[in-house]
């Protein structure tokens, strides 16, 4: 058996001239070994055969091997260069098309890669999970929340051996710190426990990773922030004064390396979570406001572990509690999480995939161009191929020649693509809103992809033309009877149809995305946010609420003292934020005596008596809060969405009824005094949340309506009053309109990226059409001449050519339309407030295609049509 394999192997690779005697020698040795009873003679034989594999004994790579024929390669190169040079415009079209396609494809590829790389840089990222909370009612998954209870990580880690460690964190958001004279607002502050650094494996520059966040009031800086606060000094042991509710010194206990931006949990500063130990102890198993991360042993079955976590939940929260533990791989958070209370807006796997598809479209269009043009130009090369064959060239060689030519064009395209991409980097970064790319010249992943797609492109785009051209029959070609085959024409036409369809889909999509974004930005929110400024009030220290209220009230009065300020209101959340800016309750609720209990999330919003007035929110029934009525501290205003959930008619009868939350009788004291018309507090992606509004005269945020007479003076006035009252806090104000605009930044970005790249796609397709029609027109020069002699006018001739393209465009419409409809309807259905599918837009997109196609074709045909027939016909 082994000997047989060995013999066959030898026969396969050995040079035929040497084979007989070498195999004879081997046979002799083998037989002798066997006779002498040498052990494993079979294996010895095989080893000998393997050792025989040497260049001097191996078969030739084939008599007509290209690799050996360097002389012919030189010839191919020369002929190719001459050809490319002779047809400069055709070469330019090919190269530019390929370059644009490749550049667009690779840039998008970088972006897609970046989006998918979120949180993959952590140590053993595959083992890291986030503990989240699911609300499950009667076996149905209701709300998924990204947060969890603060004791849960420790309990689970202690009980289950496969949970290796945990980290408890709290997303603190902003903190004000003092650096010398100035106040600094830090926006990315997380409170974490001492396990955090080791769990994620962040690189520590100074300090002990396992203790530096243990003690209360410790602070850990990233390298950049350490540099910012302390320059080149050693920050360890130094202190930073922290305001925003702490008002005390924090000790710097460590410095870590800057964290890459592709993580869902970004931070510049870490504060030990033991600084709020009191709060953690108070909340216990009553509130889930924390992000808990777990490191699981490799190969842990998370589904099975989740089941075993149910008893833990039952022990601590009771059997009837509907909140369950859930484990979420951290690498899935950025693209696949759709939970409430995410620490930052997540990306969308869908739009990433969408972009990926677009990029492939563009690249394919570019390749199709090449195939189209080179098969169309086959007639020009037919004689050359015929002659080569007569002299003795084989098909294989001719294929090699054309593949080589396609390699040359692809190579030029790739070099140009690198230049284009490099120039496009700043625009690209701006478009995607992140600084994800720097120079491409030393970006190895980009360059290696460029190389890879250069080769793939050569094969894909060169293969068909090479086969097609090498199949020409010698006699037909040389007799001069050659014309392009019918099959080739059909192929070329279907490729053009494919290009048109792709462009149509992309352009239609772009229009629809931008329409939807415009719609959301200009839609009626149910309130008037014009000239309304919002800001966060300073955080106060201590328990003296009366004094704090008094101070806030005098600040408000100081603002109103100047007539540029029309009105001031206070609230615990500014309009134009995320839905999770305010708290919510997920328990049951009912209107006592009117409805049954229903179980669903209700948002709790606290406002003062000015809030609705200032934003011009309309009341459907009842009245606003009144600060002079003592009883209004137990009053509640609800919105229409809240009422609609009970499926009851909204009427004045509902006023003065009491609301019951949960089953605690203490929670039944709130009576409804008013019902407001639904007003969007956040993005129109979501419908208006069922919300209850409670009265509080002083809250964490303020909104200010400006008279609009002098915006600058108004803002100056607010700033002056602020620094007079609160010198230890930073004022950060923004217009509510801008806040809403920012909500749609992602959609706008998506639209812009979509638009830019569909522009590229159209450009590449038009380039291809330009080349193709130019060629067709030149081919038919004689026909045009004859037609003109017989009396055809120029418009008539142009129409003749158009007729062909009109059919192609119609076919691509039939193909593209259903695709646009289904994909874009799917996208629109993500939005609670969406436009109807805009048919007119499709017509518009079609118009763009038709106009650009007709302009290119028309120009080429016109060039030929204006020629004097005397000239075009005289050469025969």
């Amino acid at each position: 058996m082994i000997k047989n394999i060995a013999d066959r192997l030898l026969r396969w690779y050995c040079h035929p001239d040497f084979y007989p005697d070498i195999s004879g020698d081997l046979e002799e040795i083998f037989l002798r070994n066997k006779e002498r009873g040498v052990s494993a003679s079979n294996w010895r034989h095989l080893i000998q055969v393997i050792l025989l594999f040497r260049p001097s004994l191996v078969k030739d790579l084939g008599q007509y091997s290209l690799i050996k024929d360097t002389g012919m390669l030189k010839n191919y190169f020369k002929i190719s260069m001459r050809n490319l040079w002779r047809h400069k415009s055709y070469t330019a079209i090919n190269v530019i098309g390929l370059a644009v396609g490749l550049a667009a494809f690779l840039l998008i590829n970088q972006y897609v890669h970046y989006e998918r790389s979120y949180d993959s840089f952590h140590k053993d990222a595959g083992q890291l999970y986030r503990l989240t909370t699911d609300m499950i009612v009667d076996g149905q998954l209701k709300t998924r929340d990204a947060m969890s209870f603060n004791p849960s990580g420790k309990v689970i880690t202690d009980e289950f051996p496969e949970v290796e460690s945990y980290a408890l964190t709290y997303n603190n958001g902003q903190l004000s710190l003092r650096k010398g004279e100035s106040l600094i607002r830090e926006s990315y502050v997380k409170m974490v426990d001492e396990h955090f650094i080791n769990l994620f494996g962040f690189d520590v520059i100074a300090g002990d990773p396992s203790t530096m966040l243990k003690e209360p009031y410790s602070i850990v800086l990233t390298r950049k922030r350490a540099q910012f606060y302390f320059g080149d000094e050693n920050p360890i042991g130094k202190t930073l004064k922290v305001y925003s509710g702490f008002d005390r010194e924090f000790e710097v206990t460590g410095v870590i390396e800057d964290v890459p931006i592709n993580t869902h949990y970004k931070f510049d500063l870490l504060v030990s979570i033991s600084s709020i130990q009191q709060r953690l102890d108070d909340e216990g198993w009553n509130a889930f406001n924390y992000y808990t991360y777990l490191r699981l042993a490799p190969g842990t079955d998370t589904e099975e572990l989740e089941k075993r976590l149910i008893p833990v939940k039952n022990t601590h929260m009771g059997e009837e509690n509907r909140l369950f533990f859930n484990l979420q791989p951290i690498q899935d958070i950025h693209l696949y999480s759709d939970m409430t209370y995410e620490p930052e807006a997540t990306g969308s796997a869908r739009s990433v995939r969408f972009l990926e598809i677009i990029s492939i479209f563009i690249l394919v269009i570019a390749w199709v161009n090449y195939v189209n043009l080179s098969t169309a130009k086959a007639v020009d090369r037919a004689k050359e191929i015929g002659l080569r064959k007569v002299i003795g060239a084989r098909k294989k060689q001719i294929r090699g020649q054309f593949l080589f030519e396609s390699f040359l064009i692809n190579l030029m395209g790739a070099i140009l693509a690198l230049l284009i991409a490099e120039l496009a980097v700043p625009f690209f970064n701006q478009l995607v809103g992140d600084n994800i790319l720097t120079s491409l010249y030393n970006n190895t992943s980009f360059l290696s992809r460029l190389g890879l797609f250069l080769l793939v492109g050569t094969l894909v785009s060169g293969f068909y033309p090479a086969i097609f051209l090498s199949n020409f029959g010698i006699t037909t070609v040389l007799k001069g009877k050659f014309s392009t085959s019918k099959r080739g024409v059909i192929l070329r036409k279907s490729l053009v149809v494919a290009q048109f369809s792709a462009s149509l889909i992309l352009i239609g999509g772009t229009f629809i995305v931008s329409r939807q974004v415009d719609f959301m930005r200009s839609a009626d929110l149910g309130m008037n946010t014009d000239k309304v400024l919002g800001f966060r009030n300073p955080r106060f220290v201590g328990d003296d609420y009366e004094a704090q209220r008094a101070e806030m009230r005098s600040f408000q009065n100081a603002l109103l003292a100047n007539p540029v300020i029309q009105q001031v209101a206070t609230t615990n959340s500014l309009p134009g934020g995320a839905s999770n800016d305010i708290g919510s309750t997920s328990g049951q609720s009912r209107i006592i005596g009117v409805t049954e209990d229903i179980e669903a999330t209700t948002y709790i919003h606290q406002v003062d008596d000015q809030y609705f007035d200032l934003l011009e929110v309309k009341f459907v029934a009842g009245r606003n809060f009144n600060k002079n009525l003592k009883s209004d501290s137990a009053a509640v205003i609800v919105n229409e969405a809240f009422m609609k959930r009970y499926e009851i008619q909204i009427s004045d009868d509902l006023l003065n009824e009491n609301l019951q939350f949960g089953s605690d009788p203490e929670n039944s004291k709130y009576h409804i005094i008013g019902i407001i018309k639904d007003a969007n507090r956040g993005s129109l992606k979501n419908s208006v949340e069922p919300t209850c509004y409670f009265y509080d005269p002083v809250l964490s945020r303020s909104i200010v309506k400006l008279s609009g007479a002098n915006i600058k003076e108004s803002i100056d006035h607010i700033e002056d009053s602020w620094s007079e009252f609160f010198p230890n806090s930073v004022l950060e104000s923004s217009f509510i309109d801008e806040r809403f605009d920012r909500l749609y930044a992602d959609d706008k970005k998506f639209g812009a990226v979509f638009g830019a790249f569909s522009g590229f796609a159209l450009l590449v397709a038009v380039l291809g059409l330009f080349g193709l029609s130019s060629f067709m027109a030149t081919q038919r020069t004689k026909e045009v001449g004859v037609r003109k002699v017989l009396g055809a006018s120029i418009p008539h001739i142009v129409m003749l050519f158009y007729r062909e393209f009109v059919t192609l465009i119609l076919i691509s419409l039939v193909i593209g339309l259903p695709i646009i409809f289904f994909s874009m309807n799917g996208w629109l259905s993500n939005y609670a407030y969406r436009i109807d599918f805009p048919w007119i837009i499709v017509v518009l997109a079609l118009g763009v295609i038709v106009v650009s196609a007709f302009l290119t074709v028309g120009y080429q045909v016109w060039r030929v049509a204006v020629l004097n027939p005397a000239k075009t016909l005289k050469y025969e």
Binding site: D21, I22, G24, L26, I29, Q48, I50, L52, S56, L57
Partner: protein, 112 residues
């Protein structure tokens, strides 16, 4: 003088072919080297050296008659050509010259 390029193993093979004179075919050469020098020679190394030297015209070869013993395959006998002989002589001369040039002291020191 790159005219006679002869590696150490090639030289041994060439010499052995000379030793065997009329009986120099693959297995015989292999056995001879193994016996005389006490070192293992793989068929691959030997054959590639033989073909290489044939290409350089140090060797010429003829085909023998097929024998039963070898599964009906013919032997290929090798013989040194005049050019091969020159190469061997040249290589020997070079060595001798080098030997002659070593001062006695150098060798003596080695033994002391």
């Amino acid at each position: 003088m790159k005219k006679y390029q002869l590696g150490e193993f090639e030289e041994i093979v060439l010499l052995t072919v000379g030793v065997l004179y009329d009986e120099a075919y693959g297995v015989a050469i292999k056995d001879e080297i193994e016996n005389r020098l006490g070192r293992k020679v793989s068929v691959g190394a030997l054959q590639s050296a033989l073909r290489r030297m044939e290409k350089k015209t140090f060797l010429e070869s003829r085909e023998g008659d097929p024998t039963e013993q070898r599964g009906g395959k013919p032997k290929r006998y090798f013989r040194i050509t005049a050019f091969g002989k020159k190469a061997l002589e040249y290589s020997k001369d070079v060595r001798m010259e080098l030997w002659e040039s070593i001062p006695d002291v150098a060798l003596d020191v080695k033994f002391s």
